[in-house]
Amino acid sequence: MNGPSIAWYLAVAAFLFGTGSLGVLLRRNPLIVLLSLEIMLNGANLALIAFARHLGDASGQIFALAVMAVAASEVVVGLGLIVALNRKRVPLDVDRLSSLRG
């Protein structure tokens, strides 16, 4: 094929995954955390698509579509939680949501 080989796409996917995980671990606003989570999922998607192209098997794309659907569902639920938290006047700070503290 033209252009970079699959390895380049995989490198981009790896960077996306790493960046997303940094965001999940280091940000305190739950919205940003969700966005970072989306980045991680997209990184995984990119890897899937790249391998689908590399092996000539479209099942990778099916997998990526399924991941997309699940990510959408998860965002729905996450945002619902955030809206509910906001309605209860809870501060939107994951560090303050520490009832599990042992």
Binding site: M1, F15, L46
Partner: protein, 185 residues
Amino acid sequence: MIVATVGNVLVWTIWMVAAFACLGSAVAVVTFWNPFYSALALIGNLGSLAVLYLLLSSEFVAAAQVLVYAGAVMVMFLFVIAYIGPRSDSPWAGGPGWQAVGAVLAAAALLVEIIVAIGLKAGDRLADSADIREGFGGPAQIGRLFLTDHLLAFEVTSIVLLVAAIGGVILGAHSRRAADEVPPL
């Protein structure tokens, strides 16, 4: 020949632009203070990813990415961010100091590992991609696969979406209990 070389250069150029846009917008999402700006950056990220998908001959997935992800999911995000209102974001990282260091280390480790793993195991096989047919990645092939080989995944995914929709409605509905019955967090 020249067309092939020009095609190659073109592809490379598009790839560079899309890749850097992708990475840059990802960093932007993680670092902006205003969640609204982060969401906008994510839209950019999704767009560049769609371009990358096109380069990988996955037209349907690219279209779905733009329509579903950037179109629906991100719009939902923007709605909620607007609904919640302007919020000065909390500082970068609070909590135990070891947590920030640990997070950076863990992320870096993951990154390195992925690269190393793939490099070690499959480095020599990644150069030659398979030859693909004309309709690869097109809606027809995707549709056929969904309805034959991967029917179960298709159906289960639809159930997951249904459950998420119900969950979203429940979470967002006004509670019928009085406000003072709920113990504050």
